[in-house]
Point group: C2
DNA sequence: TTATTGAGTATCGAGTCGATACTATTTGAT
DNA sequence: ATCAAATAGTATCGACTCGATACTCAATAA
């Protein structure tokens, strides 16, 4: 006797699909495409270990080829810079240009931000929690990396003596054996695993 | 002193963008594209007044040209049928074929349905409510029609004597002056306005 | 009867996206 | 030290999306 529940699931899927369509639609603003916005957003929030075509590919869940094209168009628009990685010459270090940083500030989805702020605080809270759970579950289901924040990682060592070697880099990543600035520790990392 | 709130909005936008991307990604299943799934989903749930290229265009928020192409590919795949409207020969009546109905049952987003069901009932409830509010607000902001359910419309007349003229069509739409079956009254309508 | 409006289609260009094939570099196993 | 994987990216193909513009008919209004 579950018809009402089933109908709720269908309703949820319908809502999710329509919301996604609207999000996608807004992504066609300011001369960029949704995938380009996603890339820009990632590059603005990812730490130095993750800002590579490969990192972006994993984040987007796309193929290398698609990501490569997206990056090419962002580079052509002068929003992204590519630099060779001196340690691994196969790899490319990505960086937003000043124009890229600026555009990332004026996110195409900011109208959703306003609507979110119009919700009551408890609604905001529970919506965020539920969306987080959904996202996590989906990523885990597909075997994708969570791309969480550096300082919530099990490899994060807060104020580690190893980090103090370089001034301004008080923390440390025990996986990559690299010192971390406070700034870095608030960013998205491809290697992040929940503590 | 609002930095924590601002960060929450950014976090919400990030969640929304990532979730949308995953939804979009799943839309590339079973040989269909996201826009084609959206169209299929709409045609499976829309009432007879709304199942036209124009109705679909308004629902998708796309341009007529894009919708036309999407419909052409669905027709080529044998999922949609086009029939001339005898009353208005400019117009086209859309109908899912048996194959289309069947495919619509196995929705590409059903994996999200399972994840939704894994949430606790209160979480499900509040998530659905919040998403509904967000969707409504966004559609209103853009001046889009809500595409709500027929029987929640201010033009819906339950068990109207006008409806009883035809057997099996007990209800009535006071806007279009048309009798409505119970089945119709549970479907999406392009003309729907909140009661 | 003739504008004008409306429903759809056709076509263009930039982009997406999965798939496949390719180059160059690094690494690992002898 | 060498040579076969494995890895990071790029190049290209085909089907599709999507906004924009131009177009064809049919319906309606003046």
């Amino acid at each position: 006797m579950t018809p009402p529940k089933t109908s709720s699931v269908e309703h949820f899927i319908s809502l999710l699909a329509r919301l996604s369509r609207l999000v996608n639609h807004d992504g066609h603003a300011s001369g960029l495409k949704p995938a380009q916005w996603d890339a820009l957003r990632f590059l603005a929030r990812a730490n130095r270990f993750s800002r590579t075509p490969g990192g972006l590919t994993a984040y987007l869940g796309a193929t290398k080829g698609t990501t490569s094209q997206t990056l090419m168009s962002l580079e052509k628009k002068g929003l992204v810079e590519k630099n060779p990685d001196p340690l691994d010459r196969r790899s490319v270090a990505l960086k937003l240009t000043a124009a890229g940083e600026e555009l990332a500030q004026s996110d195409a989805l900011s109208s959703f931000g306003s609507l979110f702020e119009a919700l009551s605080p408890p609604e905001r809270q529970s919506l965020e929690v539920a969306m987080e759970q959904l996202l996590r579950a989906k990523l885990q289901q597909q075997g994708n990396r969570p791309f969480g924040i550096c300082n919530s990682c099990r490899h994060f060592r807060k104020n580690s003596p190893d980090g103090k070697l370089s001034a301004g880099q008080p923390h440390f990543c025990s996986l990559l054996k690299e010192p971390l600035s406070d700034h870095d520790s608030h960013k998205i990392c491809i290697e992040q695993e929940a503590a």
